[in-house]
Each structure stands twice: as C-alpha cells, then as structure tokens.
C-alpha cells in the first residue's frame, strides 16, 4: 500500500512538469503580455520592468528558474499584476476559502446524495424514487451557473434568507449557497448512481445468501449491501472532484467569495503569467491528491483491489 502510494506520487511529477512546460510556452509565445497596454511604456522603463521580473533572460532559463523555485521552496514567484504580492500570498488568501466551501459541498454531495439514492432503491418505483429521477434530470439540465442565479433570486432577493454573496470570514450563512450551488448536480448524479448500484447489489446472489441467514433487512443493507453499492459512487467521485474544481471558479466569481477562482480569471485578463501558472499547478495538484485519496479508499474497501497493490 505504501509502495503504491509512493509510486502514484512519483507519477504526479512528470505530469505536473508537462503541465508547467506546456502552459509556460503557450503563454509566453502568445502575443501580448502583462505589461502590454494601450499606451506603450517607454523602452527604458519597459527594460527595467522586464529585468525586475527576470523576463529579459531566455525563455528556457526563466522556465528553469521557475521550476527550481517551486521544487526547492514551493515558491511560485511574484505576481505581475498585483503589486508587491507573490503568488503564494494570493494562494494563502484565496485557497482556504475555496477549500472551505468545496469541502462542505463535497459533504453535501455525499451526505444527501448517498442516502437519497439508497432510499430510492429501497422504495423502488415509489414517490421517492420518481422524485429522485426527476431531480437527476433537472440537475443535468440546470448547471450551477443557471442554478446559482435562481437560488439568489429566491433565497436572497425574494425571501431575504441568505446573503447573495461575500464571505465574511466563512460564516455559515455565507457558505451555504456556494456549497449547495456547486454540489447540486453532482449530488443528483451520486444519488442516481447509488440508486442504480444499490438495486443491482440487492439482486446479487450474495444478498440472497444473507437473507437466507435470517439477518434482519437493516443488517443486510448496512453490513452486506452498502459497501459494494458505494464502490461505483466512489469511482464517480474522481471526475466529480475535477468538475467541482472547474465549478469553483464560477462560484468564486458569482458569489464574490474571494476564493482563488477570482484571482485565476483576473490573472487571465491581466495576462499575469505567474498567477495563471501557479493556480493551474495548484488546481492540478489538488485533483491528483484527491484522486489518489479516492483510489486508496477504494483499495481499502475492495479486498480484490487491495490484494493487487
């Protein structure tokens, strides 16, 4: 298991390198840069600025310095657009915000999605079942960027229950809507998937064996059926995390939470190489870590996979 974890972590290194190199050249070779503006700077000033950020050196040297700083000191360099701030500062300020509602969103997805799916499976073809199927279709058609405005319309503008944006140090009223708006469609996806796999598991021969043992229904569900029914859901969570990170950029902007999504988009407007690259690397690392954790969890649950590690 430890061996496997190490191997996986090592595999992340070339991937990140690839991401950095490709993005780096892509950005640098494209026309325009952080200091291009409508009124060009005098050449002397420009030269000065470029020197200050080390941009007068050849590209591969800059790339090398960039990578070296990340590896040795986890330093993503200075921001080009935000004066006197480093990319690390930007991350330190925004990342906890994104991570906070992201975490609660994941909790919402699992804590609501899994039981909903199980109930729908146990009450197959009942009111609950149809409600859930409806919800699943609904959420596939209303993505977060349509859902979020509707939520604000209802909960903020009409009923005045929740603030329509801001963060306020992560007070719970400010966390609810970002977390729910980000998670709803995945919650429905998880519910639908859990329902399907639970129905399948309940028809499995080994559940009949469990029934033949005289176990009460509750024990059968919790002890025998739950684990196998959750495995497909666990696999599904990998892509879900990737998509949730994408969605978080939208949430940061729409709800003005002050998370890194806002910095990312601002960075794109300002052509701030270091912010864009730094946040891209951060997003990528986040997905790798989450997927690795999921895979380990999967192996921990599924003895067949575990014995192969």
């Amino acid at each position: 298991m430890l061996n496997y974890t190490l191997r996986r972590l090592l595999a992340v290194v070339p991937t990140l390198l690839l991401l950095i190199v490709v993005s780096f050249y892509l950005m640098r070779l494209a026309p325009g840069g952080p200091f291009t503006s409508e009124r060009p700077l005098p050449p002397a000033v420009m030269q000065n600025v470029l020197e200050r950020y080390g941009m007068d050196e050849p590209l591969h040297v800059q790339l090398w310095t960039y990578i070296k700083n990340i590896v040795c000191c986890f330093d993503f360099g200075p921001s080009f657009s935000q004066k006197d701030r480093s990319v690390n500062d930007v991350i330190a300020q925004g990342f906890p915000v994104t991570l906070t509602y992201g975490f609660w969103s994941a909790v919402f997805v699992l804590v609501c999605g899994v039981p909903l799916g199980i109930i729908a499976a146990l009450r197959h073809n009942s009111f609950w079942d149809y409600t859930m199927t409806g919800l699943a279709i609904f959420s596939q058609i209303f993505p977060n960027f349509v859902l979020a405005p509707i939520m604000v319309l209802l909960f903020t503008l009409s009923w005045g229950l929740l603030p329509g944006g801001g963060w306020n140090g992560g007070q719970w009223q400010y966390v609810i809507m970002p977390a729910v708006a980000l998670g709803t469609s995945y919650m429905a996806g998880v519910a639908r998937l859990t329902r399907g796999s639970m129905l399948e598991v309940l028809n499995a021969p080994y559940i009949r064996t469990a029934r033949a043992k005289g176990l009460p229904e509750r024990t059968i569900i919790l002890r025998h059926a739950l684990k196998p029914a959750l495995l497909p859901t666990l696999t599904y969570m990998g892509p879900v995390f990737v998509y949730m990170i994408t969605g978080s950029v939208f949430i940061d902007i729409f709800f003005s939470t002050g998370g890194i999504g806002q910095d990312f988009i601002d960075g794109a407007y300002a052509r701030d190489y270091s912010i864009l690259l730094g946040l891209a690397v951060l997003y990528a690392m986040l997905t790798f870590v989450l997927t690795l954790l999921l895979d380990l969890l999967y192996a921990w649950i599924d003895p067949k996979v575990r014995s192969q590690l």
Binding site: P205, Y206, T209, A212, K213, T219, I301, D302, K304
Partner: protein, 327 residues
C-alpha cells in the same frame, strides 16, 4: 420412509410470477413430506420450478411471486409467516446451500465474518465464540489450514473451496434441514464428486435432512433415498430412488434415465427427449409432458393426471397410461 411425523410438509404448493408478458406458472400443486434425516432429491430440467420450491420454503422468492398452498414446519406454515418469524427459522432450523459459490459469498467480507454472523445472530454468540464455531465447521468441511484462512476473502479461494465454505455456512447452526440447490453444478466434475461425498458425510454425522435439488440424475443415484421428478412445475413421479432407477413409472422419468450416460455400457446411445420445455404462461389443464411424450394418447392432452400410487409400491406417479403399456 419412516412412519414418524414429517418435519416438513409441503401441501399443494403453487408459485406464479407476475411478469411483463403476463403470469408465469412456475410451480403447480406440488406436495411432499420430509422426515428427520431423510435425503430427498428434487429432479427436473432447468425451468421446471425446482429452485423456486426451495426458495419459497425460506420465503426468498422474488418480489413478483405469488404463492399458494402451505409448507408446514413443525406444524407452522412457513409461507404465511411474518418476516421476523421466518428470520428465526432461516439458517437456524432450515439452511440453504446455493448453486454458484462464486457469487453466493459476499466478496467484500472476510470468511470469518460471513460464517460467524450466523451464530452471533441466532445463538447470541460473541465474536470469539463465533470464530471458534467457524473454525470447527471449516474443519468439518475439510478446508485445509482453516485458522489461517479465516481472515481471507472469497476471491482467494478456489471454486471447490468456496462451495465448502457455503456448506460450512449452512452447517453453522446445525439445522434440521438443508436445502441444497444444485450444489455442484458450477464445479468441475472431480470437485463435484468430492463435494457430494462431503455432503453425505456431514449428513451422516449430523443427522440433518437434505433436499437435494438437481438436474443431474447421476448425482441423485448415489445420494438420495427418495426422488421427486418435476416437469413443467408439476410432480410427475415420486419414488424411492432405487425403484425409480430400476423401473421408472413415468414416461418422462424414463426419458430422463435414457439421457444419462451409462458408465457400464458406453456404447449405448443417449436418447434426448425431443421437443422443448413447456410454455408455462397458463396454468396446466393437461399433462404438461404430453406434447413431448411418445406414449401420449388423446386423453393426455385433455385431462390433468393426479399423483397416485401405482402397482402397490411406494411410488406415486401422475400419468394416465398404465405402466405396463409403457415400453
């Protein structure tokens, strides 16, 4: 058969399934008795409803099933029992061995857990007591190195070993009756013989009654003293196994026996029964075997033969044709 009261008495059991294509009449008016320690074989082709009989006794039928009749266990009707009551009988008094050991065991639980939960539930044992019983039973079914393998998962065992575990599971509470549904079908021929031998041994040692459900007359021959032949969900014939093999009383049984390879006379040709299994979307009004029966007369297509004793033997059969007339 012994003269004592039967432990299980199945009376006029009928099972039908509601499906998208209408009703399917899987089992029709089946009755039989089981005595303590008895070994009964229920023989039939796939689709003859033999597995459904076993499942209905333990209340394990699919949700779209409708059941009629009674299955009296110590005087109480299992078919009418509420879930909480029948749960106390499952595994403790009547246990089941399933067909496919590959899928009958939960792949996500250790063998120990799957075995010990039975006695923890029914006998209120602790984990360690449960483990001790599991070890004992695994030894009884001759699983080598049982102690070391308690913590293993099903996928770490071979098919034969898994079937031994399934048998061990059925033995955990020393039930009075075991329903064995095709226990060897999914296994290699050599392993089949070992498993049957094991079942016989365990049955002898514990005095358990066994209903062996199979399509394989060869398996029946050496194991069960009585045989019940099922076709189209109806009992065609029931007889002591020896008598049945010597002189089948029903054309269908005769056809079945001809289809079994004879090890003493490999040159004998095997005769398949022509035609295909019956359409069971209607309740039977005539002999279900008539369309495939070479001895059928007009009456066979019009009346439903009853199960009646014949020729002063212990056998009973449902056929309009006199035995003497059968070639």
């Amino acid at each position: 058969m012994t003269g004592a009261d039967p432990i299980l008495s199945v009376k006029n059991l009928s099972i039908r399934f509601r499906t998208g294509d209408g009703m399917v009449y899987a089992v029709n008016d089946v009755s039989f008795d089981m005595h303590a320690g008895q070994r009964l074989a229920i023989v039939g082709e796939s689709g003859s409803g033999k597995s459904q009989i076993a499942l209905s006794i333990l209340g394990l039928l699919a949700r779209n099933a409708e059941v009629e009749g009674a299955a009296l266990w110590k005087g109480r009707d299992l078919l009418a029992m509420p879930a909480a009551e029948i749960n106390k009988i499952r595994a403790r008094e009547i246990a089941m061995i399933f067909q496919d050991p590959m899928s009958a065991l939960n792949p996500y639980m250790t063998i120990e857990r799957q075995l010990s939960e039975v006695v923890e539930l029914h006998e209120g044992m602790s984990r360690s007591q449960g483990r001790a019983r599991a070890l004992e039973v695994m030894d009884a079914v001759k699983i080598p190195d049982a102690r070391a393998r308690l913590r293993a998962y099903p996928h770490e065992f071979s098919g034969g070993m898994r079937q031994r575990i399934v048998i061990a599971m059925a033995l955990m509470c020393r039930p009075a009756l075991i329903l064995a549904d095709e226990p060897t079908t999914a296994l290699d021929v050599t392993v089949q013989a070992q498993i049957m031998e094991l079942l016989a041994e365990v049955q002898q040692a514990m005095g358990t009654a066994i209903v062996l459900i199979t399509h394989d007359l060869g398996v029946v021959a050496g194991f069960c003293e009585d045989t019940l032949v099922l076709y189209g969900g109806r009992v065609m014939e029931t007889a002591p196994t020896r008598a049945l093999f010597r002189a089948p009383g029903h054309p269908y049984t005769r056809g079945l026996l001809r289809a079994v390879p004879n090890i003493n006379d490999p040159s004998a040709t095997l005769a398949a029964i022509p035609g295909s299994p019956p359409n069971q979307t209607h309740p039977p009004r005539a002999c279900p075997f008539a369309p495939r029966c070479e001895d059928a007369v007009t009456a066979c297509f019009e009346t439903l033969p009853m199960l009646e004793p014949h020729a002063g033997t212990a056998s009973r059969r449902a056929c309009l044709r006199p035995v003497e007339a059968l070639t």
